[in-house]
């Protein structure tokens, strides 16, 4: 499945970002906006790691990138390239 679709799909399922246009969706900081609580973040990590076959590192979690939807897509794309 396309990474962008998977990531956007997850947030859409949570009812987040549905009213934003595409570029605003990618800019959206789900942490600063409190869109996901701790349990939601754990669910997100688990779902992306299992369905997309990647493993986030501590550096990934600490990055500013990780906190935006677009940033997440970028990290996952890089991890997938490294896997291949």
């Amino acid at each position: 499945m396309d990474i962008k679709e998977s990531v956007l799909g997850f947030f859409a399922k949570q009812g987040i970002v549905k009213d934003l246009n595409i570029s605003k969706q990618f800019e959206y900081n789900y942490v600063d906006n409190g869109a996901l609580d701790s349990a939601g973040i754990v669910e997100m990590i688990t779902e992306f790691e299992e369905s997309l076959g990647i493993q986030f590192s501590t550096d990934d979690f600490q990055s500013e990138e990780f906190q935006t939807i677009g940033g997440l897509v970028g990290i996952i794309e890089r991890l997938r390239i490294n896997n291949d």
């Binding site: 942490v31 701790s38 973040i41 754990v42 990590i45 688990t46 501590t58 600490q62 906190q67």
Partner: protein, 387 residues
Amino acid sequence: MRKLPGDVIVLAEAHGRWVVMNVFARTNLGVESESLQVLRDCEYLPKDKMHQKYSQRTFKVWEIKWFSNYKGLFADPTRYVRNITAWSEPERLNYVDLVERFISHYMIIEDEKHYRSCFGPKTSLLDRKHFGNFHQQLGQELILAHRESADEWWVRQKFTSDLQGLRTNLYKSIQGEYLKRYFQRKFVENDVIVDFGCGIGFYSNLMALTGAKVLGIDPNEDYIKQAREYATDGASFEIVNISKAGALDHISTNSADYIFMSDALLFYFVPIVSGQVADIGVLCEDIKRILKPGGTFISMDPHYLFWLQPWLGDNDRPFTILTEYLNKTYGVTPSISSFIKTLTKFGFAITWMEEPTPDPDYESVDPRAYHFSKEFPQWQLYELRVV
């Protein structure tokens, strides 16, 4: 404006090395003596003088910090690799990178206001800026570094894999050994005991061995399932959301000789998950109602002063450092006055208190843990009566 804050101490290690430690941020770095001079100079020397003095040199550093409580709630809380032979190969840095490393470990502070703002609760699971309290740090470590659930981890680090015994760590050598003797001394056949927050029922079963009738209650379904599987004669278990008003109404008034809690009361003062509300008023009213007149509420909790404080000094001559007590940002236990005032306000009086120390056999297993906890107790037990 660079500053070497008062928060930093330096400990002598073997092989001529030192451990630089920020006691508030709980960061550690292994260095050699030359690096200590850089640490001192970067506060006072202007940049051109620093360059003149240090540009030709390289400095070894060892990244030795780790979240040592991953090994257990009562493992060595001092967050660096204690065994110097286990230190990985050092990095060799120029002085600019060394200073940057000191800065990133809060050993040199460039922005006092920013540093002070780090002392506070984490705002999310991903928040690495704020230090947060111990529960938040533990949650972050378990989930992000290990993808582990706190519930499963807790059980694994306390109990043997068959769940029939305590692992050979401080849980066993202090809490386990002490409570075994305490229960034998205290309880008689047909005493009625309710174990609030019984977990997998290990202590409920131990209490039932005295001939007492024990009801173990806990909100965690998985724990109660396990408790029922291993229940001793005389011990029964129920899933009960203990802090919810009305949840214990089915337990008869004036029915229990004793109510026991271990490692649970502290969460009524500092919740395990931020925002979780556990009402101590509800708890106290339930305890008072369920106890028989003259009955005793027994609470064994991690020590309100010494739990999680660093184990410093030589093995058999330990010392520790306290960075807070009345206004906690890291600690998760109440102050003694807060505990006593709260319980007495709700109508209890304290009738006994003990600070158990480890079983002497533990000295050969873990001398550092043994000697530290022999001087600085890791648990406390209070007996309280309704007045």
